[in-house]
Symmetry: C2
Subunit: 159 residues, 2 copies
Amino acid sequence: MDATARKTVLRMFTYGLYAVTAKDGEGGHGIAANWLSQVSFEPPMLAIAVEGDSHMRRLLDMHGAFVVNVLESGQRELAGQLGKTFAKHPEKMRDILWKPSPLTASPILTVALGWVECRVREELPTGDHILYTAEVVEAGVLREGVALTLKETGFRYFG
Amino acid sequence: MDATARKTVLRMFTYGLYAVTAKDGEGGHGIAANWLSQVSFEPPMLAIAVEGDSHMRRLLDMHGAFVVNVLESGQRELAGQLGKTFAKHPEKMRDILWKPSPLTASPILTVALGWVECRVREELPTGDHILYTAEVVEAGVLREGVALTLKETGFRYFG
């Protein structure tokens, strides 16, 4: 395979950049995630790929629930903060305001445009990530705005 | 669940819009697809959700291979053509130029920016769609350009 071509084409793909959060003990944990898509209308379902050796993976396996927070254009710094590794930055959520979601106590970020609360259905190992499928069980709109995209941030998580 | 809020938030999500193609007898079949993401770096893998009762689903189950063609900004009309249902428009690929991909003879569209050829690994039913995971086995860059997004087209396939 032409690995350079592969990277070039995969970097043409279009992604949003979301704050994906889960309950973590009495607190909450969050990551920046872009490998995420709706995968069913009825029932409404999403799929998300999470790093196989990550703290988020352990929390999803433990609690089976997460929230996808839609970030707003301009929130690059917040996305970057959430994109830090848990191992090196275990307190990365400390200065981020949130409240627990209604059904699963996953963090809803105060500054998000909106959120969907999801319960994990199945997980499938995909190479160096775990692909979770999940059903949307609750949702809320916080305000209007334009969603953040991976392209806007200049971050790279593809290829 | 607040169904209106759910639709509103899911419609904030960001997607590309791709031409996904597969071998179909001596010819080729194509759809417009946006529920698609990379899901692993090593090995390079994608996941794509395809309608459960679609012709593409039958082809993926039969051949286990597809190509993702990255469309260019401005190719809304082509995406709309590929978005037509196979049942009502079985000849929708007739006027679209393509050549077979090197390993699996899936259509590479001449006007695409680039393409990745994929072999299906696993499939998982997700509500009204089937989620396929696949390994990228070949790729090619055709030219430079800005990728088409679902937002640009104004099409809706989410919520």
